[in-house]
Structures are given as structure tokens and as C-alpha cells.
Symmetry: C2
């Protein structure tokens, strides 16, 4: 026995009574879009099956006809996000290291644009079509710069790992509705904590309280790590004795 006929909009006259044109049929694309909307609005934890269903005027159970489980949905959402990556049109051997940096910066920017979605990317080998596009571009640039095959291959893991882990760490500051003022206060507090540590056991931390807490929340810290990585890669890429 049906519990009670639900109200259906658009009833009355001879109008073909669909409950919406079969809800635009609820397909993978609309589900992924809805899930991404939820993430953008309220973060990764808010992306529950029920909540995504709600976004489409239905329940969580309805999604399972189109998506195997929540993990697969997350994978689809992530590849959608990776699709926003801006990649160089063509590798330029003279600018390879700058092009690598641009790609990694774009990764960070894209992830940062979707709340804490970076957390969902951690520990996930990205094999979606858009991820492959990114990997291909990254390798192309590095190979054009003369990096050996194995270096380029490993770096193709290492660089996104850095972008993702950094984006995740930064999303923690950005979330929890912390205002920039709060953040500044929190950083100041941490600096004071470091500076006040007993200098017999923690002389270096106490001495570097300033540098340790510098650049949090800005680009400087990220650029530092990026520079370290690219310099390290460059040092592995030079052909033996490149000087004339």
C-alpha cells in the first residue's frame, strides 16, 4: 500500500503528468554536477549521498542506479575538477621549468577553488580522462626540458602530490569559517608559542619562531616548495657537463 500519494507539480489538465520530465532522467552528469555544487557550497564532508540526492529533489538511494557507490561518485567529481586545469599549448624547451611551475600552480588553484576537495584526491591515482590530459602535458614539458625518462615519470607523481597535499593543508585554514583576522591571530598565537618554548630543549624552534610561521596562507610558502622541487629536478636533468 502506498503510504500517501505525493504531490506532483504540473498536474491538473490533460498535460502529460510527468513528475518533471522524469526528472531530466537523473543521469551521471547531473549527479556529478550536483555533487560538485554541494562540495563548493559546504565542503567535502557535506557531500553525502542523501545531500546530493536532495540537490536533485530525490533521495540518496536514487543515485545508486547511476553510480556504483560514493567513492565512484567522488572519483567522477574529481576528474571533473581536474578538467579545469589550464595547460600550456605547447612545450617550450627554453621555459620548461617555468611551464612546470605553471601547471602545478594551476593544480593548486583549481583544487583551492573547490573548498577541501583536495582531501578527496589524496592517495588516489588519477586515471580519469582529464587527469591523463594533465599528466601528458606535464611529461611533455619535462621531456622537452631534457629530463630523463625515469625522472619525468617519477616527477609526474611527485608534483601533483605536492600540489594536492598543499591544497589540502591550505583548505583547512580556508574552511571552518575562519576569517582572515582570526587566522592572523591564530598564527600570531603559534609564533608566540614557538618563541616561548624552553630554549634548552628547543633552541632552533624558538629562534625561528618568526620564519616558521611566516607565509602561512599566502603564496610564498607554496612557491618555496615548488622552487625546491623544480630545482631538484633540474639538477637531475642536466646532461653530463652541459657547459661548452
Amino acid at each position: 500500500m502506498p503510504p500517501a500519494p505525493r504531490f506532483r507539480p504540473g498536474g491538473l489538465a490533460g498535460e502529460p503528468r510527468r513528475r518533471a520530465p522524469r526528472r531530466a532522467s537523473l543521469n551521471r552528469d547531473s549527479i556529478v554536477a550536483a555533487a560538485l555544487r554541494v562540495v563548493d557550497a559546504d565542503g567535502l564532508d557535506a557531500m553525502t549521498m542523501r545531500r546530493v540526492g536532495q540537490e536533485l529533489d530525490t533521495g540518496g538511494a536514487s543515485l545508486y542506479a547511476h553510480v556504483a557507490n560514493k567513492d565512484e561518485l567522488l572519483e567522477l567529481v574529481i576528474d571533473q575538477v581536474i578538467g579545469e586545469l589550464e595547460l600550456p599549448d605547447a612545450p617550450d624547451p627554453d621555459r620548461w621549468s617555468e611551464q612546470v611551475k605553471e601547471i602545478v600552480r594551476s593544480m593548486r588553484a583549481v583544487l583551492a577553488g573547490h573548498k577541501d576537495i583536495a582531501r578527496g584526491c589524496l592517495g588516489r591515482i588519477p586515471l580519469g580522462p582529464n587527469a591523463l590530459r594533465g599528466s601528458e602535458a606535464l611529461i611533455a614539458v619535462m621531456k622537452s626540458g631534457g629530463l630523463p625518462d625515469q625522472v619525468a615519470a617519477y616527477a609526474c607523481d611527485l608534483l601533483p602530490l605536492y600540489a594536492t597535499a598543499t591544497a589540502y593543508e591550505e583548505s583547512l585554514y580556508a574552511s571552518a569559517q575562519i576569517t582572515p583576522t582570526d587566522l592572523a591571530g591564530y598564527i600570531a598565537e603559534m609564533r608566540a608559542y614557538f618563541a616561548a618554548l624552553p630554549t634548552d630543549r628547543f633552541p632552533h624552534i624558538a629562534a625561528l619562531a618568526g620564519p616558521l610561521t611566516a607565509g602561512s596562507g599566502g603564496d610564498e610558502r607554496f612557491e618555496f616548495g615548488l622552487d625546491v622541487l623544480v630545482r631538484g629536478l633540474a639538477s637531475l636533468g642536466l646532461r653530463p657537463d652541459p657547459r661548452p
Copy 2:
């Protein structure tokens, strides 16, 4: 009205009916130890409040008298794990880069020794006593090697980030009760997938199918990233024109 008097072991005669000698009183240390036992046995997801309580012959609710919430418990467990770090006795300026590597290797090894606990460390600024000890040692070594303050300070974040993120990625292979044979098969499958990609759109990935999937599960991949990082740091540490 009590729902029904519970059975208590050790009743009958004049024996002092304790329910165990007040369970050794259930303190923070025993709870942290129990939680770590659960993680070691069945991974981070198994570390639920109920399960940890069970490990101590009680329920999950009993833990809240000693620990604010699950997150605080995890923080305590993590600092306990970090306490296992092996640190150099004294910084040696001639071996600074090797000492840095040894510390980061130790981080990876310690994390790998506790299933997927690395996942819990991601995005967490470690400020426990043991974490501070590790940071102090790391900075000491880098400073002895002549790295500038700001470089040492940023690297003090960057290096543990690498160790943690790598340990997490590796824990995924190690878990899910994948046998080494399965893993080898999975890697072979991925290599074949890369190699079979359309060469018009993915020429580099297809060409590097071998290198891309090499060294998974071994130390080689980890050592590569470590080498890149330390080389990059070294390139930032040289005093201007160190040549005679």
C-alpha cells in the same frame, strides 16, 4: 526504574565485588595504547570509539571522561607514533644532507609501521611534544648545513609533508589485504593500460608506461623524491659564490 540489574562477575560470597579492580582506572595512556593496538591490527578506519572501548572491556562512551573527542584521541595516538622517530645524536655539518634524508626516512618507516595512520597525520600541524622534538632535530641539521633560516623553516614543513603523503599513498597498496602477487599484477595491468593509450593524444604516457609504473611499492620512488627535495634545498643553501 533500572531496566534490569546487570550480571556482575565475581558476586556470590563475601568476595569484594569489584567489576575488575576498577579496570585499572582507565586513563589516557591506556586508552591511547589501546587505540594504537586497534590501528595496528585493523587500520585507521577500525579505530572507532566503540572498538577502542571494547579493547578495554568497556563501551565507547567510557572514553569521553578522559578524552575530549575522537580527534583528540587521534592526535595523542599520532604523537605517540612520532615518538618512535629515530633522530641523529648531533648535527654533522659535513653530512647534513644525509642526516636530513635519514630523518625523513625514519618518518616514513615509523608511519609505515602503523598501517594507514599516515592518513590521520595529513593536514595536521603536529605540535605534540614528540613532534616538536622531531622538528627541532630537523632544523638543527639543516642549520648546521648552512641553510638560511627561512629555507630551514619552510623545509621543516615540506619534508614531513612529503614523508606523510608518501607513507599514506604506500599504505593504500599495503592495505586492502593485497598480496604482493596481486600488487604485481595490478601494476602490470596499469602499465599495459598506459601503453595501450592512443598515441595521438597520449604519446608521452604511452612511451613512458614502463618508467611510470616502475618502483611502485619499493624504496626507489621514495628515494627519488627525497633526493629531489634535498638537492633543491642544497641549491638554496649555498652561500653566494662558495667557490674560492
